[in-house]
Protein backbone atom coordinates (compact mmCIF):
# COMPACT_ATOMS: atom_id res chain seq x y z
CA UNK A 1 0.00 0.00 0.00
CA UNK A 2 1.16 3.46 -0.82
CA UNK A 3 0.86 5.24 2.49
CA UNK A 4 1.34 8.66 1.00
CA UNK A 5 -1.49 8.10 -1.41
CA UNK A 6 -3.78 6.96 1.34
CA UNK A 7 -2.92 9.92 3.52
CA UNK A 8 -3.46 12.35 0.67
CA UNK A 9 -6.80 10.86 -0.10
CA UNK A 10 -8.01 11.06 3.44
CA UNK A 11 -6.90 14.65 3.70
CA UNK A 12 -8.74 15.63 0.58
CA UNK A 13 -11.78 13.64 1.53
CA UNK A 14 -12.11 15.23 4.86
CA UNK A 15 -11.44 18.74 3.67
CA UNK A 16 -14.19 18.31 1.13
CA UNK A 17 -16.64 16.81 3.53
CA UNK A 18 -18.94 18.31 6.00
CA UNK A 19 -17.97 18.90 9.53
CA UNK A 20 -19.62 20.23 12.82
CA UNK A 21 -21.73 23.15 13.63
CA UNK A 22 -21.20 24.93 16.88
CA UNK A 23 -24.15 27.25 17.21
CA UNK A 24 -22.36 29.27 19.86
CA UNK A 25 -19.47 30.11 17.59
CA UNK A 26 -19.58 33.29 15.48
CA UNK A 27 -19.68 32.03 11.93
CA UNK A 28 -17.57 34.68 10.27
CA UNK A 29 -14.76 34.46 12.81
CA UNK A 30 -14.61 30.74 13.38
CA UNK A 31 -11.88 29.01 11.47
CA UNK A 32 -11.61 25.27 11.40
CA UNK A 33 -8.26 24.12 12.72
CA UNK A 34 -8.70 20.45 12.11
CA UNK A 35 -11.10 17.79 10.93
CA UNK A 36 -11.57 14.56 12.79
CA UNK A 37 -13.13 11.38 11.45
CA UNK A 38 -14.25 8.62 13.78
CA UNK A 39 -15.68 5.28 12.81
CA UNK A 40 -16.01 1.76 14.06
CA UNK A 41 -13.83 0.34 11.31
CA UNK A 42 -11.89 1.24 8.21
CA UNK A 43 -11.13 -0.44 4.91
CA UNK A 44 -8.72 0.46 2.16
CA UNK A 45 -8.71 -1.35 -1.17
CA UNK A 46 -5.65 -0.51 -3.19
CA UNK A 47 -6.98 -2.25 -6.28
CA UNK A 48 -10.26 -0.39 -6.54
CA UNK A 49 -8.82 2.76 -4.99
CA UNK A 50 -11.49 3.05 -2.34
CA UNK A 51 -11.31 4.14 1.26
CA UNK A 52 -14.32 3.17 3.36
CA UNK A 53 -15.17 4.22 6.89
CA UNK A 54 -17.78 1.89 8.38
CA UNK A 55 -20.10 2.12 11.36
CA UNK A 56 -21.05 5.23 13.34
CA UNK A 57 -19.05 7.52 11.11
CA UNK A 58 -18.60 11.05 12.38
CA UNK A 59 -16.79 13.83 10.54
CA UNK A 60 -16.34 17.09 12.39
CA UNK A 61 -14.32 20.28 12.45
CA UNK A 62 -15.89 21.42 15.73
CA UNK A 63 -16.67 24.80 14.17
CA UNK A 64 -18.78 24.71 11.04
CA UNK A 65 -20.29 21.34 10.43
CA UNK A 66 -20.79 17.83 11.57
CA UNK A 67 -21.58 14.86 9.36
CA UNK A 68 -22.84 11.56 10.68
CA UNK A 69 -23.61 8.44 8.68
CA UNK A 70 -23.07 4.71 8.72
CA UNK A 71 -20.72 4.48 5.76
CA UNK A 72 -18.38 6.96 4.14
CA UNK A 73 -16.72 5.89 0.90
CA UNK A 74 -13.99 7.81 -0.88
CA UNK A 75 -13.32 6.99 -4.53
CA UNK A 76 -9.86 7.88 -5.71
CA UNK A 77 -8.60 8.54 -9.19
CA UNK A 78 -5.77 6.34 -10.35
CA UNK A 79 -3.39 9.27 -10.32
CA UNK A 80 -3.90 9.88 -6.64
CA UNK A 81 -5.17 13.43 -6.95
CA UNK A 82 -8.44 14.82 -5.58
CA UNK A 83 -11.18 12.22 -5.02
CA UNK A 84 -13.81 12.12 -7.72
CA UNK A 85 -16.56 10.99 -5.39
CA UNK A 86 -17.21 10.82 -1.67
CA UNK A 87 -20.41 9.09 -0.65
CA UNK A 88 -22.05 9.17 2.77
CA UNK A 89 -24.78 6.57 3.16
CA UNK A 90 -27.45 5.48 5.62
CA UNK A 91 -28.96 7.87 8.11
CA UNK A 92 -27.00 10.82 6.87
CA UNK A 93 -27.24 13.83 9.18
CA UNK A 94 -25.45 17.10 8.56
CA UNK A 95 -25.42 20.12 10.84
CA UNK A 96 -23.76 22.98 9.02
CA UNK A 97 -23.27 26.58 9.98
CA UNK A 98 -24.01 29.21 7.32
CA UNK A 99 -22.65 32.72 6.90
CA UNK A 100 -25.27 34.13 9.25
CA UNK A 101 -24.26 31.79 12.01
CA UNK A 102 -27.43 29.74 11.90
CA UNK A 103 -27.39 26.00 11.91
CA UNK A 104 -28.82 24.08 8.98
CA UNK A 105 -29.87 20.58 9.93
CA UNK A 106 -30.05 18.21 6.96
CA UNK A 107 -31.20 14.61 6.99
CA UNK A 108 -30.97 12.30 4.01
CA UNK A 109 -30.34 8.73 3.03
CA UNK A 110 -27.33 9.58 0.93
CA UNK A 111 -25.00 12.49 0.31
CA UNK A 112 -22.62 12.43 -2.63
CA UNK A 113 -19.73 14.80 -3.16
CA UNK A 114 -18.53 14.86 -6.74
CA UNK A 115 -15.57 16.59 -8.26
CA UNK A 116 -14.89 17.07 -11.94
CA UNK A 117 -13.04 19.35 -14.30
CA UNK A 118 -14.69 20.51 -17.52
CA UNK A 119 -13.53 22.84 -20.24
CA UNK A 120 -15.64 25.87 -21.04
CA UNK A 121 -15.00 26.39 -24.75
CA UNK A 122 -17.65 29.04 -25.21
CA UNK A 123 -15.27 31.82 -24.27
CA UNK A 124 -12.51 33.05 -26.49
CA UNK A 125 -9.92 31.39 -24.30
CA UNK A 126 -11.07 27.95 -23.15
CA UNK A 127 -11.11 27.70 -19.37
CA UNK A 128 -10.98 24.70 -17.11
CA UNK A 129 -13.98 24.82 -14.79
CA UNK A 130 -13.94 23.05 -11.44
CA UNK A 131 -17.23 21.46 -10.50
CA UNK A 132 -17.85 20.52 -6.91
CA UNK A 133 -21.33 19.35 -5.98
CA UNK A 134 -22.94 17.73 -3.00
CA UNK A 135 -26.14 15.89 -3.86
CA UNK A 136 -28.47 14.84 -1.07
CA UNK A 137 -30.95 12.06 -1.83
CA UNK A 138 -33.79 10.82 0.28
CA UNK A 139 -34.97 7.79 -1.68
CA UNK A 140 -37.47 6.45 0.84
CA UNK A 141 -38.09 9.91 2.21
CA UNK A 142 -37.46 13.49 1.15
CA UNK A 143 -34.33 15.32 2.09
CA UNK A 144 -35.15 17.54 5.05
CA UNK A 145 -33.52 20.88 5.79
CA UNK A 146 -34.27 22.75 8.98
CA UNK A 147 -32.99 26.08 10.22
CA UNK A 148 -34.46 28.78 12.45
CA UNK A 149 -36.15 30.48 9.49
CA UNK A 150 -37.50 27.68 7.35
CA UNK A 151 -38.13 24.02 6.83
CA UNK A 152 -37.57 22.51 3.43
CA UNK A 153 -38.17 19.09 1.97
CA UNK A 154 -36.80 18.22 -1.44
CA UNK A 155 -35.72 15.30 -3.56
CA UNK A 156 -32.96 15.70 -4.52
CA UNK A 157 -31.18 18.67 -2.99
CA UNK A 158 -28.00 19.76 -4.74
CA UNK A 159 -25.44 22.13 -3.27
CA UNK A 160 -22.97 23.65 -5.72
CA UNK A 161 -19.88 24.34 -3.65
CA UNK A 162 -18.17 26.38 -6.32
CA UNK A 163 -21.18 28.65 -6.90
CA UNK A 164 -22.41 28.48 -3.30
CA UNK A 165 -25.94 27.81 -4.43
CA UNK A 166 -28.69 25.27 -3.80
CA UNK A 167 -30.68 23.52 -6.52
CA UNK A 168 -33.85 21.50 -6.14
CA UNK A 169 -34.60 20.03 -9.56
CA UNK A 170 -37.40 17.88 -8.18
CA UNK A 171 -40.34 18.50 -5.91
CA UNK A 172 -39.67 20.93 -3.10
CA UNK A 173 -41.78 22.20 -0.23
CA UNK A 174 -40.70 25.14 1.90
CA UNK A 175 -42.27 26.37 5.13
CA UNK A 176 -41.09 29.75 6.37
CA UNK A 177 -41.06 30.27 10.10
CA UNK A 178 -42.44 33.74 10.71
CA UNK A 179 -41.59 35.82 13.73
CA UNK A 180 -43.59 35.47 16.95
CA UNK A 181 -47.19 36.45 16.54
CA UNK A 182 -47.22 35.85 12.82
CA UNK A 183 -48.92 33.00 11.08
CA UNK A 184 -46.72 30.40 9.49
CA UNK A 185 -46.99 30.32 5.76
CA UNK A 186 -46.38 27.34 3.57
CA UNK A 187 -45.29 27.60 -0.02
CA UNK A 188 -45.30 24.64 -2.36
CA UNK A 189 -43.24 24.63 -5.49
CA UNK A 190 -44.10 21.92 -7.96
CA UNK A 191 -41.68 21.59 -10.79
Amino acid sequence: MNLLKLLLVLSLAASSSAALADTNAPAKKAVAQSIEIDSDSFYYDGNSNQVVYLGNVSVTDFVRAWLRCQQLTVYLPAGGSEPTNIVAETNVVVDALDDQGQTNHITADKATYSFSLTTNSSSAAPMVVTNRLITFNGYNRDVDVENPHLSMTAEPLIYDISKRSLHTPGRVKTTFHMSAGSTNSTLNFLK
Partner: protein, 155 residues
Protein backbone atom coordinates in the same frame (compact mmCIF):
# COMPACT_ATOMS: atom_id res chain seq x y z
CA UNK B 1 -0.59 -3.42 -9.90
CA UNK B 2 2.88 -2.39 -8.90
CA UNK B 3 3.61 -3.40 -5.32
CA UNK B 4 3.86 -0.33 -3.16
CA UNK B 5 6.92 0.76 -1.30
CA UNK B 6 5.27 -0.15 1.96
CA UNK B 7 4.50 -3.59 0.73
CA UNK B 8 8.09 -4.10 -0.25
CA UNK B 9 9.19 -2.67 3.04
CA UNK B 10 7.06 -4.92 5.15
CA UNK B 11 8.02 -7.97 3.18
CA UNK B 12 11.65 -7.03 3.46
CA UNK B 13 11.42 -6.77 7.21
CA UNK B 14 9.65 -10.03 7.62
CA UNK B 15 11.85 -11.85 5.20
CA UNK B 16 15.12 -10.19 5.97
CA UNK B 17 16.83 -13.30 7.31
CA UNK B 18 15.60 -15.20 4.29
CA UNK B 19 16.52 -12.84 1.52
CA UNK B 20 18.53 -15.53 -0.17
CA UNK B 21 15.96 -18.25 0.33
CA UNK B 22 12.80 -18.89 -1.62
CA UNK B 23 9.37 -18.96 -0.06
CA UNK B 24 9.06 -22.76 0.03
CA UNK B 25 12.29 -23.08 1.88
CA UNK B 26 11.27 -20.37 4.26
CA UNK B 27 8.79 -22.66 5.90
CA UNK B 28 11.50 -25.15 6.63
CA UNK B 29 14.17 -22.82 7.85
CA UNK B 30 13.84 -22.06 11.54
CA UNK B 31 14.04 -18.33 12.17
CA UNK B 32 16.36 -16.93 14.73
CA UNK B 33 15.35 -14.07 16.92
CA UNK B 34 16.68 -10.73 15.75
CA UNK B 35 16.86 -7.34 17.43
CA UNK B 36 17.12 -3.79 16.20
CA UNK B 37 16.42 -4.80 12.65
CA UNK B 38 16.67 -2.14 10.01
CA UNK B 39 16.58 -2.09 6.25
CA UNK B 40 16.11 0.35 3.41
CA UNK B 41 14.56 0.13 -0.05
CA UNK B 42 15.94 2.41 -2.75
CA UNK B 43 14.28 4.05 -5.71
CA UNK B 44 14.73 2.57 -9.12
CA UNK B 45 17.41 4.03 -11.45
CA UNK B 46 18.28 6.79 -12.05
CA UNK B 47 17.46 7.56 -8.40
CA UNK B 48 18.93 4.39 -7.03
CA UNK B 49 20.91 6.27 -4.38
CA UNK B 50 17.78 7.72 -2.81
CA UNK B 51 16.08 5.84 0.01
CA UNK B 52 12.43 5.18 -0.70
CA UNK B 53 11.56 3.24 2.43
CA UNK B 54 13.30 2.72 5.72
CA UNK B 55 11.89 0.09 7.99
CA UNK B 56 12.83 -1.04 11.41
CA UNK B 57 11.74 -3.49 14.04
CA UNK B 58 12.97 -3.80 17.58
CA UNK B 59 12.62 -7.54 17.60
CA UNK B 60 11.47 -10.37 15.36
CA UNK B 61 10.97 -13.99 16.33
CA UNK B 62 9.59 -17.05 14.60
CA UNK B 63 6.35 -18.78 15.42
CA UNK B 64 5.11 -22.16 14.17
CA UNK B 65 3.92 -22.25 10.59
CA UNK B 66 6.21 -19.68 9.00
CA UNK B 67 4.65 -16.91 11.03
CA UNK B 68 6.79 -14.23 12.56
CA UNK B 69 6.23 -11.95 15.50
CA UNK B 70 7.46 -8.39 14.90
CA UNK B 71 7.84 -5.85 17.68
CA UNK B 72 7.92 -2.06 17.29
CA UNK B 73 7.47 -2.02 13.56
CA UNK B 74 8.16 1.33 11.93
CA UNK B 75 7.99 2.09 8.23
CA UNK B 76 9.10 5.44 6.85
CA UNK B 77 8.46 6.46 3.26
CA UNK B 78 10.55 9.16 1.61
CA UNK B 79 10.21 11.28 -1.51
CA UNK B 80 12.99 11.30 -4.08
CA UNK B 81 14.07 14.61 -2.59
CA UNK B 82 14.59 12.86 0.73
CA UNK B 83 11.61 14.49 2.41
CA UNK B 84 9.74 12.26 4.83
CA UNK B 85 6.29 11.54 3.40
CA UNK B 86 4.61 9.02 5.65
CA UNK B 87 5.22 6.88 8.69
CA UNK B 88 3.42 3.74 9.86
CA UNK B 89 3.98 2.26 13.29
CA UNK B 90 2.67 -0.80 15.08
CA UNK B 91 3.87 -1.99 18.49
CA UNK B 92 3.38 -5.59 17.49
CA UNK B 93 2.13 -7.69 14.62
CA UNK B 94 2.38 -11.19 13.23
CA UNK B 95 3.32 -11.81 9.64
CA UNK B 96 2.41 -14.94 7.69
CA UNK B 97 4.98 -15.35 4.98
CA UNK B 98 3.07 -17.72 2.74
CA UNK B 99 -0.18 -15.78 2.77
CA UNK B 100 1.52 -12.38 2.89
CA UNK B 101 -0.78 -11.28 5.69
CA UNK B 102 0.09 -9.11 8.66
CA UNK B 103 -2.33 -8.94 11.55
CA UNK B 104 -2.50 -7.62 15.05
CA UNK B 105 -5.14 -7.03 17.71
CA UNK B 106 -3.07 -4.05 18.75
CA UNK B 107 -2.82 -0.53 17.49
CA UNK B 108 -1.73 0.84 14.13
CA UNK B 109 -0.75 4.46 13.63
CA UNK B 110 0.16 6.15 10.41
CA UNK B 111 0.75 9.81 9.77
CA UNK B 112 1.98 12.10 7.05
CA UNK B 113 5.52 13.32 7.09
CA UNK B 114 4.47 16.91 7.70
CA UNK B 115 2.31 15.85 10.62
CA UNK B 116 -0.86 17.31 9.12
CA UNK B 117 -2.76 14.04 9.05
CA UNK B 118 -2.80 10.93 11.19
CA UNK B 119 -4.98 7.85 11.54
CA UNK B 120 -4.95 5.31 14.29
CA UNK B 121 -7.02 2.28 15.13
CA UNK B 122 -6.99 -0.98 16.98
CA UNK B 123 -6.80 -4.35 15.32
CA UNK B 124 -5.64 -4.53 11.74
CA UNK B 125 -5.43 -7.00 8.90
CA UNK B 126 -3.07 -6.21 6.07
CA UNK B 127 -3.16 -8.43 3.00
CA UNK B 128 -0.28 -7.51 0.80
CA UNK B 129 -1.26 -9.49 -2.26
CA UNK B 130 -4.59 -7.65 -2.51
CA UNK B 131 -3.27 -4.31 -1.31
CA UNK B 132 -5.99 -4.16 1.30
CA UNK B 133 -5.98 -2.91 4.85
CA UNK B 134 -8.70 -3.35 7.44
CA UNK B 135 -8.74 -1.56 10.77
CA UNK B 136 -11.40 -3.20 12.85
CA UNK B 137 -11.92 -0.93 15.83
CA UNK B 138 -11.79 2.63 17.09
CA UNK B 139 -10.64 4.31 13.91
CA UNK B 140 -9.74 7.95 14.46
CA UNK B 141 -8.37 10.33 11.84
CA UNK B 142 -7.17 13.86 12.50
CA UNK B 143 -6.43 16.30 9.69
CA UNK B 144 -4.99 19.74 10.29
CA UNK B 145 -6.56 22.25 7.96
CA UNK B 146 -6.30 25.56 6.27
CA UNK B 147 -9.60 27.32 5.71
CA UNK B 148 -10.93 25.40 2.76
CA UNK B 149 -13.94 23.77 4.36
CA UNK B 150 -17.22 24.49 2.64
CA UNK B 151 -19.96 26.45 4.28
CA UNK B 152 -23.69 26.37 3.72
CA UNK B 153 -25.24 29.22 1.76
CA UNK B 154 -27.78 31.37 3.57
CA UNK B 155 -31.27 29.96 3.16
Amino acid sequence: MRPSATKFAFMALALMPLLCADRARAQDVPMKAGTNLSSVVFYDPPNESQVRVRLSGAQMSSLPGAIYDVKQLKIEEFAISGKLQAVAEAPQCTYAVQDEIATSPGSLLFHSGDGRMSTKGEGFYWQQSDSTLYISNKVHTVILLGTNSWRMPNL
